[in-house]
């Protein structure tokens, strides 16, 4: 088959996750794309599969002291502390901007308690401009000694159940990789009613300034992201795909189409791009272009034909 013939065939990049149709499998990872408006000067938001907002909570949240970020080999540590404008301010000040685009808006959210999770979900459920919810369970449960919801399958189950009761919108649960057996957590949230799973959130890490002997982050511990984490993320996505029957969105160190394809091949239906947005504000548009080129070069007519095709 010659190259020209291949180009004449229509190429489908459209995928579906939890009942939401994405025009392609590329979307930002929460926290790396602000509320969308920050990147609008650099990137056509209509080109994306979806827009995923910064994590929102019931009330505005201040976040941590600085320094909040530092670079490590092939990655970065952050401890922003979930600073956000709060759900109400988001609805009135940020959401109207996002509604002008022909791109589904997925709102990432979190709570300090199980009840708070439920309350935010109920509020988001009322909004026609929100296509789906992404629930961050990588934060501490203040009512239970600060143990991270996502590291305790029981707490994760209960929180997801509380959210599920309050929304009929597609619910994606974002998992923390900082657990012993990711399959246990994945099964728990699927049983509690999650429509899809996204992973990985950042890996906890730490860096030290050897001259001052102080941690490089004010919060001492932060979350590691960037190309350095990708092999770990691919492994975890692979394991979760084996464990559950709901769609999975892969996240972790994606900066090129080749990286995204690794996740699709192990079975992710879509992917999120995070740290790469900081490196190149146009990164997602480039990845979508590269993905098209890859498919045409390989004679792939539908990106769905790539998903879950790992041969072992």
């Amino acid at each position: 088959m010659n190259r020209r013939k291949k180009e004449d065939k229509p190429l489908n990049l459209q995928v579906e996750v939890a009942g939401i149709t994405f025009k392609n499998p590329i979307m930002p990872a929460s926290g790396t794309f602000g509320y969308g408006e920050e990147y609008a000067p650099y990137l056509d938001l209509n080109a994306l599969g979806a827009i995923v907002t910064k994590g929102l909570s019931l009330r505005p949240r201040a976040g941590n002291d600085t320094p909040r970020v530092c670079e490590t080999i092939g990655g970065m540590l952050n401890a922003i502390g979930l600073q956000n404008v709060g759900i109400e301010q988001f609805i009135y000040q940020k959401l109207p901007f996002l509604e002008q685009f022909d791109t589904p808006v997925i709102v990432n959210f979190f709570g300090n308690t199980q009840d708070e999770y439920g309350e935010v979900a109920a509020r988001l459920d009322e909004l026609p401009g929100v296509a789906g919810l992404e629930m961050n369970i990588s934060c501490p449960n203040v009512k239970h000694g600060g143990i991270v919801f996502g590291t305790d399958p029981g707490a994760a189950f209960a929180a997801v159940e509380a959210v599920r009761k309050n929304t009929t919108k597609p619910l994606i649960v974002k998992l923390t990789p900082n657990v012993t057996d990711i399959q246990v957590t994945a099964r728990a949230v699927a049983e509690a009613g999650a429509d899809a799973i996204s992973l990985i959130n950042t890996l906890t890490g730490m860096a030290v300034d050897v001259k001052t002997r102080r941690p490089r982050l004010a919060n001492t511990i932060g979350g590691l992201s960037g190309p350095a984490v990708r092999p770990i993320a691919v492994r975890l996505v692979h394991q979760v795909v084996q464990a559950v029957n709901i769609p999975v969105i892969g996240i972790g160190g994606i900066s090129r189409a080749m990286d995204a394809l690794e996740f699709l091949i192990v079975g992710a239906t879509a992917v999120q791009v995070g740290t790469a947005n900081f490196v190149d504000p146009n990164a997602m548009a480039t990845i979508i272009d590269e993905l098209e080129t890859f498919c045409r070069d390989e004679g792939i007519e539908d990106i769905n034909d790539v998903i879950g095709t790992l041969s072992v």
Binding site: G31, T32, F33, G34, E38, Y39, P41, Y42, K54, P60, A62, G63, D65, T66, P67, R68, V69, C70, E71, I73, G74, G75, M76, N78, I80, Q83, D209, K211, A218, G226, P227, S255, T275, N277, F278, V279, D280, P281, N282
Partner: protein, 285 residues
């Protein structure tokens, strides 16, 4: 604001450890405002991963390679080699590919540059003050106080002198100009010009000392701050500083990359200012 895939035009060591890089930068002479910065990337490299913020030293035109072409627009940044990113940068040559995101941030409030102005630059913090000095309507009413640890840390004095502004050099070790801190010089200059507006950029201890001096004399002050940042466009929230009236109950965090890097001193919380002091990026310091 745009991301330019562009090239290095020149990259020269101007003082031991300090480099001045000229980069092809379309539109910058029109768009760049004094005090703004760029996010710089060694193109295609994932090491270093993140871009580095650098204050724009100046923007200008240079002749094209042949007469039929329009003049080339460029910017200059000045950096000190202190880490892995700047170490790679010092090895760049003419024609090497780089990326510039910018011009970014809120620069100096130029409504306040009439009357007497005193510009205070500590080390590499002098960089963003050059475009400010250029835009002062009457250069004879401006003074630039240039401080550093040692003579090697005193850069671009001649460039400022050419603008017609008066320069005062001081070094902590006395190896060039007056011996002592630049803040001492500021105190004595304010005795002469008590109504001056002050503009400062430099290491955090210097900025804090300048703020104290200006507050006690009720002198208007603008500061250009440096924070570690990942995105430069207000998305990551990595580079925040505390705004006036900040408290745990009513937090006020301002992004250095969008609300700053230049702030009116009155808009910041000076009780509890924390900052990364050993930063390699030249937005300040």
């Amino acid at each position: 604001m745009k991301n330019h895939k562009t090239i290095v035009l020149s990259n020269q060591e101007i003082s031991p450890g300090y480099f001045r890089m000229r980069i092809l930068a379309p539109d910058y002479s029109r768009l760049a405002k004094p005090g703004q910065f760029v996010m710089f990337r060694v193109q295609r490299s994932l090491l270093p991963l993140l871009r580095r913020p650098f204050g724009i030293f100046r923007a200008g035109f240079m002749p094209a390679d042949c007469d039929t072409m329009p003049p080339k627009e460029f910017i200059e940044i000045i950096y000190k080699v202190v880490g892995s990113g700047t170490d790679i940068m010092q090895g760049l040559h003419q024609g090497d590919p780089v990326e510039l995101l910018g011009p970014l941030g809120t620069g100096f409030d130029l409504n306040l540059t009439t009357g007497d102005s005193i510009l205070v630059g500590g080390g590499i913090g002098l960089v963003p003050l050059y475009m400010l000095a250029e835009s002062i309507p009457d250069p004879s009413m401006a003074e630039v106080l240039i401080g550093g640890r040692s003579r090697d840390d005193i850069i671009t004095v001649t460039e400022f002198e050419r603008l017609g502004v008066k320069t005062f050099v001081s070094t902590e070790d006395g190896s060039l100009g007056d011996a002592g801190l630049v803040t001492r010089v500021l105190e004595s200059r304010l005795e002469q010009k008590p109504a001056a507006r002050v503009f400062a950029c430099g290491p955090m201890p210097m900025i804090k000392a300048v703020e104290k001096i200006c507050r006690s004399r009720q002198v208007q002050l603008q500061v250009s701050l440096e924070e570690l940042m990942a995105c430069g466009v207000g998305a990551c929230l990595g580079c925040v500083v505390k705004g006036k009236g900040h408290s745990t109950e009513k937090p006020s965090y301002l992004c250095t990359c969008t609300v700053g890097p230049v702030f009116h001193a009155d808009d910041l919380d000076w009780e509890d200012t924390v900052s990364a002091d050993d930063c390699e990026c030249g937005v300040k310091k």
